[in-house]
């Protein structure tokens, strides 16, 4: 398995501002994923981040709102732009298992509260 860290672990932000969440993994991986977990809800995939190419966004998520960077094989960022209270969620990154590509391991998540 991979060891994944996220920064910040939690934050409280004002509406209209932006927050960048970092995801660091301890080994090189091709595929990284970003998810949102709204309060009391399940996880929804935001986008898939493949190193060296543009992120692929799921229906309902757009690059202007959730820009993603993937500068190398161990790091990615997700920015939540022009935040509103509806963006209050837990944001999680995950990585594919190097040996078993269909398996994903998850970071601890970033708890975001937008006032």
């Amino acid at each position: 398995s991979a060891v994944i860290s996220q920064k910040p672990s939690r934050d409280i932000c004002q509406r209209g501002t932006s927050l960048t969440i970092q995801c660091q993994v301890d080994s090189q991986v091709t595929m990284m994923f970003w998810y949102r977990q709204q309060p009391g809800q399940s996880l929804t995939l935001i986008a898939t981040a493949n190193q060296g190419s543009e992120a692929t966004y799921e229906s309902g998520f757009v690059i202007d709102k959730f820009p993603i960077s993937r500068p190398n094989l161990t790091f990615s960022t997700l920015t939540v732009s022009n935040m509103s209270p509806e963006d209050s969620s837990i944001y999680l990154c995950s990585v594919e298992d190097r040996a078993s590509k269909e398996t994903q391991y998850f970071g601890p998540g970033t708890r975001l509260l937008v006032l």
């Binding site: 398995s1 595929m31 994923f33 998810y35 809800q41 399940s42 996880l43 929804t44 995939l45 898939t48 493949n50 692929t56 999680l92 995950s94 594919e96 078993s100 590509k101 269909e102 398996t103 994903q104 391991y105 998850f106 970071g107 601890p108 998540g109």
Partner: protein, 114 residues
């Protein structure tokens, strides 16, 4: 399209009794299926996975799940619940033909009574 349905949003059992968390899936082709657990204020932990090998899959902490193609089910079981099993459990299907994207079920909260 891939999807999973978790049939129970809440399950409550007494400590020492069996646990059954139900999951049905929909997939256009042979799926990869997973169960993850999320303890309060903690990250997601992989319990077990099915990836077209043995249909009865054993995971961590005494959990197991059986893949039944005829019933399109992947139910999670444990013979004897422990207080530490109280958490939320997610059934997940992977789209193996599309970057192994994960599609999560709605989750089942397991309560274990003393």
């Amino acid at each position: 399209a891939q999807s999973v349905t978790q049939l129970d949003s809440h399950v409550s059992v007494s400590e020492g009794t069996p646990v059954l968390l139900r999951c049905n899936y929909s997939s256009s082709y042979s799926p990869s299926l997973f169960w993850y657990v999320q303890h309060p204020n903690k990250g997601l932990q992989l319990l077990l996975k099915y990836t077209s090998a043995a249909t009865l899959v054993k995971g961590i902490n005494g959990f197991e799940a059986e893949f039944k193609k005829s019933e399109t089910s992947f139910h999670l079981t444990k013979p004897s619940a422990h207080m530490s099993d109280a958490a939320e459990y997610f059934c997940v299907v992977s789209d193996t033909r599309n970057f192994n994207k994960f599609y999560f079920g709605s989750g089942t909260k397991l309560n274990v009574k003393p």
